[in-house]
Symmetry: C2
Subunit: 564 residues, 2 copies
């Protein structure tokens, strides 16, 4: 038995969520025009939308798309997911036909320290415990598909290695949906000839799998299988790429992913429909929910609110340059979430000193917010600011934000959805509708046919405001190789710290003129982007000294406590 006291904090997200009885999922589906027979139910309050129905909806996809993004993250937090949910609820409250599209949580953060991904307070999606744990099994399916390919590679080598795979150059690692640092770097195949050829290997967390990225970008099962087949998994002794299709298990991988590929339908505490589906890493991948979910939602609702990972320099840029480009999406409005406390940190205040009023710091830190607003403008999409309000925020601090935003023509809305649900985001919702129904002229930041180096340059200089880009010679050579192999038209997927516009996480605010280092590049041929590594990227987190898992339990009624 755990030593922790097993009681439910009545102010916790779990307690608030438990106070609301979810509506039958058939009712939620019916609200979007999904008939019960097109719902593949998982119990009473979760369902997948059957693929044939989803395909018809996504082919239409004519709703207005609203992206929620944020300032550069700080330890003070922003509340991007709660704002996405609160805005969706407020649009529904205003009588709009709306759907929310979100990423699925990973078990790693749930058991680690980051927490779940189902919002908080009175802006949550439910059933929150289920969604934060196995949900409908999508991540398990992705793990199984990924690891089947890994097993097939070593098995191919074992049985004669007809493809001539160089066991030193197998880049297809294994995955597990947990934080487990001991698996970052391992040696497999030990124990004698019967167990294969010893070689270096490692495990990533499932969300870092290219299968996850493909799952979230594929337009159909056929498209998914083709993308899976294109993945480069190894090289031969003569450095020729070995692709997944050569291992002959992409059919079985697709079979493992068939059910998972159907978008999941759940609801907010206020009964607003939410499609929660897929969840790729936001550094080595593009960090947003599946194209299937977003397009299906756009086919079913008039307004779709979705979010992207990290701050707008990474999450929104990738959403716009990778996801929207690949999926034929054109967002109508971008909402940028900020908090007074986080802007103070961007203005140089330490986390322990956030409590007292500090208008000067807010004004200084607002430069980060203003930069993100300007950046969204470069994509031709109108932006609006949502301040996720804390009771400690003062009128003068808020006025400082409004003044800074006013200079670049962005409106600011104070939001209290965390405490008040939809009622706390009505002014934001009204403005979002006004902007969404007005003109928008979305275009990606750079053209697909630009050389890869120039694409990196465009993001670095236009979005990050780097003075220059320093690409390691090895990385530069690889970029040339990718172009020679016919991958020059792919967008770039920048893997940079989320805490700064620069590659230095300690440089908060709005630095400019710095050198952006490019350490390495990787081809994600199946996902369809070139990953640009601007620093160390951790693809397998570790658990903290007191993992959140220690607080989780099932009580005698079957209620799961301790999930926040």
């Amino acid at each position: 038995m755990n030593s922790a006291v097993r009681t439910i904090d009545p102010t916790s997200d779990a307690a608030i969520a438990a106070s609301v009885a979810p509506r039958p999922i058939e009712e939620i589906g019916a609200g979007l025009g999904v008939p019960a027979e097109a719902l593949f139910r998982y119990g009473h309050d979760k369902a997948k939308i059957a693929l044939p129905f989803a395909r018809t909806a996504e082919a239409k996809a004519d709703g207005k798309l609203i992206l929620v993004t944020a300032i550069s993250p700080t330890p003070a937090g922003e509340g991007k997911t709660t704002t996405t949910i609160g805005l969706g609820d407020a649009l529904a409250h205003a009588g709009k036909r709306v759907a929310i599209a979100l990423r699925e949580p990973s078990l790693g953060p749930v058991f680690g320290s980051k927490g779940g991904a189902t919002g908080g307070g009175h802006a949550q999606i439910i059933p929150m415990q289920d969604i934060n744990l196995h949900f409908t099994g999508d991540f398990h399916a992705i793990s199984a598909a990924h690891n089947l390919l890994a097993a097939a590679i070593d098995n191919h080598v074992y049985w004669g290695n007809e493809l001539g795979i160089d066991t030193r150059r197998i880049n297809w690692r294994r995955v597990v949906d947990l934080n487990d640092r001991a698996l970052r770097s391992v040696v497999v195949g030990l124990g004698g000839p019967g167990n294969g050829f010893p070689r270096e290997d490692g495990f990533d967390i499932t969300v870092a799998s290219e299968v996850m990225a493909i799952f979230c970008l594929a337009r159909s099962l056929e498209d998914m299988e083709e993308r899976l087949g294109r993945m480069v998994v190894a090289q031969t002794r003569t450095r020729q790429p070995v692709i997944a299709a050569q291992l002959k298990v992409t059919g079985a991988m697709t079979a493992l992913l068939r059910d998972a590929f159907q978008p999941n339908l759940v609801q907010t505490l206020e009964g607003t429909p939410a499609l929660v589906h897929g969840g790729p890493f936001a550094n080595i991948a593009h960090g947003c929910n599946s194209v299937m979910a977003t397009r299906t939602a756009l086919g079913l609702a008039d307004y779709v609110v979705t979010e992207a990972g990290f701050g707008a320099d990474l999450g929104a840029e990738k959403f716009l340059d990778i996801k929207c480009r690949q999926a034929g999406l054109a967002p109508s409005v971008v909402v940028i979430v900020a908090t007074v406390r986080a802007l103070k940190m961007h203005g140089g205040v330490a986390q322990k000193d956030l409590a007292p009023e500090n208008v000067a710091a807010v004004t200084l830190g607002a430069a980060n917010l203003v930069r993100h607003i300007e950046n969204i403008g470069q994509f031709g999409v109108p932006a609006v600011v949502a301040i996720n309000r804390f009771t400690s925020d003062t009128p003068a601090e808020i006025a400082a934000i409004e003044a800074a935003c006013g200079e670049v023509g962005a409106r600011v809305h104070l939001c209290t959805h965390w405490a008040d649900g939809s009622a706390g985001a009505l002014s934001l919702a009204n403005d979002v509708v006004r902007l969404a129904d007005g003109p928008s002229a979305f275009h990606p930041l750079y053209a697909s046919n630009l050389p890869l180096v120039e694409k990196i340059d465009a993001v670095a200089k236009k979005i990050y405001r780097a003075g220059s880009v320093a690409i390691e010679p090895g990385a530069l050579k690889k970029l040339g190789e990718f172009e020679a192999l016919g991958f020059g038209d792919l967008p770039v997927c920048m893997a940079k710290t989320q805490y700064s516009f620069s590659a230095d996480p300690s440089r908060r605010g709005a630095p400019e003129g710095f050198v952006l280092p490019v350490r390495d590049v990787r081809l994600s041929a199946g996902a369809g982007f070139v990953v640009v590594l601007c620093g160390e990227v951790m693809t397998m987190p570790g658990l903290p000294s007191r993992p959140a898992a220690e607080n989780i339990f099932v009580d005698e009624t079957g209620f799961i406590g301790g999930v926040f």
Copy 2:
């Protein structure tokens, strides 16, 4: 794309299964008295029985329990699962209120070579592709719970190792539900101090996890968590056991297993309800479906047909001595499945020479069957023989079996359920009802309070007919330690080759007087048995040179082909 031709063989199990439209799972539930609101549905044709309802049913558990077991397996095959399903269908056809209880398939064999576990021909459970792939996610939940504990152990060592775990003596390996020989023996924690302490480790297939065994023996979530906490996962430098409870994640593990613990409900091709739940290894564990499923089925139906792994010497013995003892079950009848072809192999015929009639070989090989019949009698339960008939079987061969069985008072029934469904197992069903409604006086083979060595002796001599048992000194010492620690009352779980009564897989038929070697013993303190290793046990299979995964695909309608 796979190179394999993507067509469906119209005589395949998949094609036969696809020709039947499954009835809505609510109808199947209603037939057992399970109301729709007590069904946690997974789509239209799969459901879990909600735990509160299942608990009420299993507390009653007053149906008649029929165990299907088999002769010692040979490469010729027996058809135990098809017989279990065919008998269930035949009982339903005869108007009985019946439920089938079966194990869930593992992805390892599905993608390897052994195949699925959903029966065959006209005796199948459906939806067969779903059941053979993720089904309701139970094995994924078990994998996640198992690996969370593994991560917690290395994390504990990383953050200071307060428990003083000796990293050379961590016996809690990791699991994956795939055949992946490269993971049998690995070194983890490489790559520097940030990744932990390098140590030897390895992966088992999920069905070999003690979590799986516990899942299948626990009577409630509370019981499950207590059992999880008792598992010995490591030793300290002074050889003191470290148990899972000390890692403080058994609450989170139970939360991961909460939904999975509810028995799954599906149906046969003829609409007979089947509870398919859990699937532990039959060598280092007890090899039968969950106690929850069996007891719930007994509470809902008048007759429950279930099966045990391997041949009767292993599967039935463990079913009776471990599962029935722990779960308070008393079977009414045991059905022993045999085929003419398999008995020929026990009579010394090679697989390639099975076609011609060979009455002498059948008579010789029937000694294996007769031995199993006699053994079942030692448990006080009546036995009946089911011959899973092949068209090549001759009347003289069948007469030889009948003659041999007649000498020990066992009736023989010719069954053609594979070809004919329930109609092919009616005589068997009638006899099973007659025996089930007659007297039965089940008792385990040995008393719980016997010393562990004497329990091993009882199984070896009474069931296997060994002349003597040779226990390695190290194993003998450990048995004494287990008894000193208070585990002397546990039953023994024999891990021996399934191909022979002896420990030598090449000795078919009915050998006797041999020496049974006991190489090692292991304590499964959570599952509640002492594993007795009578040879090498493979807990992570490998893939063959042409894995079955290469044939699996999704067609344009979403149909999954190539799963047999």
